[in-house]
C-alpha cells in the first residue's frame, strides 16, 4: 500500500441490471483537491458512497487513508468527513447541538474547543445558539462543512458542494474549500457537474460519464489535450499568411470569409509572434478562444455536460425495479 489518500481499483457497482460504475480506477495523493466531473447519473455519488462505506461495491477494491473500505469500514469512517449535496443538519437543533452529536458519533473528546475554533473560523459563532432551521443556505452549508471537519478527518468528501447556491455563496465556498485544503491539510475529493468549478478548484480532475472515467489529468493537461487554443482574427483585406504558417508554435491556420483561425498551444505566449508575422493594419479585431473542460467533455462524449444528465427519476425508478 503506498501513501495515497485514496486508491480505487476497477470499481464496479451494479443495482440489479443497472450499472452505476463500470470499472473505475484512480488514485488521489495526499493534500490534493481531486474532482470527479460529470453529468448527473455518471456515477459520482455512487463512488463517494462506496468510498465512505455507505454501500459496498459489486466488485473491485478501494482503499481510503490506507484502509480497505469493505474490510475495515470503521477505520475509514474515523478518517473521512462527508458533506452531502443536500445539506443534512437537524433543523430543531442549534449549531452547538449539531456539532455535539457529530462529536459523539465520531467519539471526539474535548469537542467544544475544536467546535469553537471551527465556528469562529466559519464565522458562525454569533448564531451558534439558534436552531439551524432559521439559517441561510450559505450558513447551513458552512455549518455542515464544519461538522464534517470536527473529528479532524484526513480526507473530506464534498458531493456537489455548490449545487443550489447563488453566485456569491459559491465564490465564498470556493475560497473556503481552498483554505480548508491548505490550512487544515485535508485531502479533498469533490464531485461536480460544473466545469468551472472543477477547473477553478481541482489539482486533478477525472471526467466521468456513464460509470466510466473518460480522461484524467490536471485541468490544463485536459484542456491542452483537445488541441490547443484558437486565436481568431477578423481582417479587412487579404493578408500574406506564409510567415504566420512558419511560426513554430502555430499548429494550424484556417482562413475563411474575412476570418483567420489560428490554433496555437498557448495563445498568451504566441500572440506577439503572430502580430509580427503579418500585416496587422488589416486586422479589425482579435479574439482568443480557450478550451474549457466542457470542450474536453464534448470531444470525449460528443455531448455537452448539460445535455448528458441522466434523468434522475427514471434512473432511480429503474434501480428500484431491478432490486425487486
Amino acid at each position: 500500500m503506498n501513501g495515497n489518500a485514496i486508491e480505487v481499483l476497477d470499481l464496479v457497482k451494479r443495482y440489479g441490471n443497472v450499472t452505476a460504475l463500470a470499472g473505475v480506477t484512480f488514485s488521489v495523493s495526499r493534500g490534493e483537491i481531486f474532482g470527479l466531473l460529470g453529468p448527473n447519473g455518471a456515477g459520482k455519488t455512487t463512488t463517494i458512497k462506496i468510498l465512505t462505506g455507505l454501500t459496498p461495491p459489486t466488485s473491485g477494491r478501494a482503499y481510503v487513508a490506507g484502509f480497505d473500505v469493505v474490510r475495515q469500514p470503521n477505520e475509514v469512517k474515523r478518517r473521512v468527513g462527508w458533506v452531502s449535496s443536500e445539506v443534512i443538519l437537524d433543523d430543531d437543533l442549534n449549531a452547538w447541538e449539531n456539532l455535539e452529536l457529530q462529536a459523539r458519533l465520531q467519539g471526539v473528546r474535548n469537542w467544544r474547543e475544536r467546535a469553537t475554533e471551527l465556528l469562529k473560523y466559519f464565522d458562525l459563532l454569533q448564531s451558534a445558539g439558534r436552531p439551524v432551521g432559521g439559517y441561510s443556505t450559505g450558513m447551513r452549508k458552512k455549518l455542515e462543512i464544519a461538522t464534517a471537519l470536527l473529528h479532524s478527518p484526513e480526507i473530506l468528501f464534498l458531493d456537489e458542494p455548490t449545487i443550489g447556491l447563488d453566485v456569491n455563496a459559491r465564490a465564498m465556498l470556493w475560497d473556503l474549500i481552498r483554505t480548508v485544503n491548505r490550512e487544515f491539510g485535508v485531502t479533498i475529493l469533490l464531485t461536480t457537474h460544473y466545469m468551472e468549478e472543477a477547473d477553478a478548484l481541482c489539482n486533478r480532475v477525472a471526467i466521468i460519464n456513464l460509470g466510466k472515467i473518460m480522461a484524467l489529468g490536471s485541468p490544463a493537461e485536459l484542456k491542452s489535450s483537445v488541441g490547443g487554443e484558437v486565436v481568431e482574427l477578423e481582417i479587412e483585406r487579404p493578408v500574406d499568411l506564409s510567415a504566420l504558417k512558419r511560426l513554430p508554435d502555430v499548429l494550424d491556420v484556417a482562413a475563411s470569409d474575412g476570418k483567420i483561425r489560428i490554433t496555437v498551444r498557448k495563445a498568451d505566449e504566441t500572440i506577439p509572434a503572430i502580430v509580427k508575422s503579418l500585416d496587422f493594419s488589416a486586422v479589425k479585431s482579435l479574439k482568443v478562444e480557450k478550451p474549457t473542460l466542457d470542450t474536453v467533455f464534448m470531444k470525449l462524449t460528443g455531448k455537452r455536460i448539460e445535455e448528458s444528465h441522466v434523468d434522475y427519476r427514471r434512473f432511480y425508478a429503474m434501480i428500484r425495479r431491478s432490486r425487486r
Partner: protein
C-alpha cells in the same frame, strides 16, 4: 467503545426534539385527555350501581386512566417508527452511518427517545385525573411499578414498530401500521372495559395482550386492587423479545437508503 457515546449523543438529540417540538408532544396528550374529559364526564353521571356492576368501581376515570396511559404507549411506537422514516428521508441516517457509530446505538436511541416521550405523559395524565377529582392513593412503590410497566410496554412497542419501519422511506407507512395495529390492540385489552363481559375469543386475546398487563398494574395502584407481580415479569419478557427482534432487524436492514 464509541457505541455508548454515540447512543448518548443520539438520545440527547431525541430529547431536545421532544421539547423543541412541543406541539407534537401536546398532540400525544390529546387522545387520552379527551377520553377522560368526555367519557369520564358522561359515564360519571351514570347510576352508581351500574358503574360498580360493570366496572367494579364507581370511579370510571380512575378505571380508565391506567388503560389510557397503557394505550398511549402505542403512540410512542408510532413516533419511533415515524422518526426513523424521517431520518431516512432527510438523509440524516446517512449522516449517522458514515460515522463509526454502531447501528445498535441508533436503534436504542430511537427506543429510549420514544419511551421518554411516552413517559412525559404520565405526570400530565395524573394531574388531569386529579383535576377531575380522582383521589390518587399515596403508594410510591406502586407508582414505581406502574411506571416500570409503562416503560417496558413502550420499549416493546417502539422496538416492534421500529422493526416494521426499518427499511421504509415512506412517511405514510408508520401511520398505516398505527391504524392497523393501535385500535385492535386497544380494544382487545382491558384498557377501556373489564374482561368479564368479553366473548371468549376476545378474552383469550386480552389475556395475552401486554396492554392488559400494564393496565391492570395501574389499576392496582389507582383503585387499590391487589395485583400479582408476575404481570411485570410478563411485560419484561415482552420488552426483551421485541427488543431482540428489533435489534436483529436493525443489524440486518438499517441502511442509509
Amino acid at each position: 467503545m464509541s457505541g455508548l457515546g454515540a447512543f448518548w449523543g443520539l438520545y440527547k438529540r431525541e430529547v431536545v426534539k421532544i421539547y423543541r417540538r412541543a406541539f407534537a408532544l401536546v398532540m400525544t396528550f390529546m387522545q387520552p385527555i379527551i377520553w377522560i374529559i368526555f367519557f369520564g364526564s358522561s359515564l360519571n353521571g351514570m347510576p352508581r350501581e351500574y358503574l360498580v356492576q360493570f366496572f367494579g368501581t364507581p370511579n370510571y376515570i380512575g378505571f380508565v386512566l391506567p388503560g389510557q396511559l397503557a394505550t398511549s404507549m402505542l403512540s410512542t411506537g408510532t413516533f419511533s417508527a415515524m422518526s426513523i422514516v424521517w431520518d431516512r428521508r432527510f438523509g440524516f441516517l446517512k449522516k449517522i452511518l458514515v460515522t463509526p457509530a454502531p447501528r445498535e446505538a441508533v436503534f436504542f436511541s430511537k427506543v429510549a427517545g420514544a419511551v421518554t416521550r411516552g413517559l412525559v405523559q404520565v405526570p400530565v395524565m395524573l394531574a388531569a385525573a386529579l383535576a377531575f377529582g380522582v383521589a390518587l392513593p399515596l403508594d410510591p412503590v406502586g407508582y414505581l411499578e406502574w411506571i416500570a410497566a409503562l416503560m417496558l410496554l413502550g420499549i416493546g412497542f417502539s422496538s416492534i414498530y421500529l422493526a416494521v419501519a426499518m427499511k421504509s422511506s415512506d412517511w405514510q407507512h408508520p401511520q398505516l401500521v398505527a391504524n392497523v395495529m393501535n385500535l385492535p390492540l386497544m380494544f382487545t385489552s382491558t384498557a377501556l372495559f373489564p374482561r368479564t363481559f368479553y366473548p371468549a375469543w376476545m378474552r383469550a386475546i386480552a389475556d395475552v395482550n401486554p396492554i392488559t398487563f400494564a393496565t391492570e398494574i395501574g389499576r392496582g395502584v389507582v383503585l387499590n386492587d391487589p395485583y400479582t407481580p408476575t404481570l411485570l415479569g410478563y411485560l419484561a419478557a415482552f420488552a426483551a423479545a421485541s427488543m431482540a427482534i428489533g435489534l436483529l432487524v436493525a443489524r440486518r436492514f438499517m441502511t442509509a437508503e
